[in-house]
Symmetry: C2
Subunit: 213 residues, 2 copies
C-alpha cells in the first residue's frame, strides 16, 4: 500500500494513526501542499485523486481519497485491532464523532480554505484567525459534551476507536493555531493519554519523512 500524504495534513495523520494501530506496512509518498503551487494539483496526482486533496491510498488497482473512507476500507479489509465497535448504536456514535471533526471542523479550517479567505476573499490575518478559532471552538464545545458522557481512557471507553484517530490530529492542528484548549478538559485529558501511545507517537507529523520540508 502507498499513502500519498503530507506530514502536517491532519486528514493524512488520521490514516497514519490507524495504519500504525493495525500494524500495516505501507510506503509513504509525500505530496507537498505548498511547493510548486501545491503538488496536489499536478496532473499526475489529479489522475489518482480528482479532488486534488490528500490523503490518497493506493492499494493494487484502487486509488482512494477521503480519510474516513480510507479508515473504513482498512477496517474492512485488514487485520489488526478493530477500530469500530461491534454494537450498531455505538458504532454509529463513533462514526458521528469522526464526522463532527472531518465534516464540521476540519474542512472549514484547512489550508485551501484559509488561503482562499486571505486571497480571493481579502480577509485580514486577524479575521482569518477569528474564523479558524470560531469553527474550532464551536466543534470542540460539542465534542467536550459528548466526551463527558462517552470517554474512559480514550474517546469511547477504554478501547481505541476511529474517534481517537480523528481527535488527536485536530488537536495538533488547534495547537498550531494557538487555540486555548482550557474549555475542553475531558478532550485534553483523552488526547494526553493517546499521545503517549506508540502508534500515535510514530504517526505524529514531526516523525514523518517529509517533516519540516
Amino acid at each position: 500500500m502507498k499513502l500519498h500524504g503530507y506530514w502536517r495534513s491532519s486528514a493524512a495523520y488520521r490514516v497514519r494513526i490507524a495504519l500504525a494501530i493495525k500494524g500495516i506496512d505501507y510506503q509513504q509518498v509525500p505530496v507537498h501542499l505548498v511547493k510548486d503551487g501545491g503538488q496536489q494539483h499536478s496532473a499526475q496526482y489529479k489522475a489518482l485523486n480528482p479532488a486534488e486533496l490528500v490523503p490518497c491510498l493506493e492499494d493494487k488497482d484502487l486509488a482512494l481519497g477521503q480519510s474516513l473512507a480510507i479508515l473504513e476500507y482498512l477496517e474492512e479489509t485488514q487485520g489488526g485491532p478493530k477500530l469500530l465497535p461491534a454494537e450498531p448504536g455505538l458504532r454509529a456514535q463513533v462514526r458521528a464523532f469522526c464526522q463532527d471533526i472531518a465534516c464540521d471542523i476540519h474542512p472549514l479550517n484547512n489550508l485551501r480554505v484559509l488561503q482562499y479567505l486571505k486571497g480571493e476573499m481579502a480577509l485580514s490575518d486577524d479575521k482569518k484567525d477569528a474564523w479558524y478559532r470560531h469553527w474550532l471552538a464551536t466543534g470542540f464545545a460539542a465534542l467536550e459534551v459528548k466526551l463527558a458522557k462517552t470517554a474512559g481512557h480514550y474517546c469511547f471507553g477504554d478501547t481505541l476507536t476511529l474517534a481517537d484517530c480523528c481527535l488527536v490530529p485536530q488537536v495538533y492542528n488547534a495547537r498550531r493555531f494557538e487555540v486555548d484548549l482550557g474549555p475542553y478538559p475531558t478532550l485534553v485529558a483523552v488526547v494526553a493519554r493517546l499521545e503517549a501511545l506508540d502508534a500515535f507517537i510514530s504517526a505524529a507529523p514531526e516523525q514523518q519523512p517529509d517533516a519540516n520540508g
Copy 2:
C-alpha cells in the same frame, strides 16, 4: 424512529431519500433553522444533538447526529435495498464520493457558514455568492471526473447507492444558488434519472410537512 430535520437542509434530505428507498416508516420532527434564532440551538434540541445541527435520528435510546453516520446506521440495522456495494473497493469509492459532498462541499456552504461570512466576517453578498460558487464548482468538477468513470444509470452503475442519496440534495442546493451546471453533464444526467424515482420525489424538500414554513 424520529428524524429531526428541516425541509431545505440537504443533510436531512440525504437521510429522507435513504429512508424512502429502504421503505422505513418514521416520524418527522421539524427543526426550523431560522425561526426563534434557529431552533437547533434550543436547550431541548441541544440535549439530543450537542452539535446543534440537523439531522438527528432518534431510535429508541439512541440520538444520532451526522447524516453519513445515520445512513450507515440504517444500512447496518434496517431491511430494504442495500445502498453500499458488497465489494470493499467499490464500497470505499461510494463512501469517498459521499464524503466529497458531505465533507468538502456542503459544510463550506451551509446556512451557518454563509451567515457567519456575511455577519462576523462582514463579506458582501457578492463575495458570499462567489464563495458558494467556488466551493461548489471545485467539488462538482471532481465529481464529474469520477462519474465519467463510474456512472451507469446512477452514480455507480445501475444500482442505487448512498452516493445517489448525497448527490441529489447537493444539486438541489446548487440550483437554489443558481449555479450553472453546464460543465457537469454526466452529473446532471444522473440526477435527472434519480429525480424521476418515487423515493427521490417523496423525499424532496417541497414534499415535506414543514415546506415553505
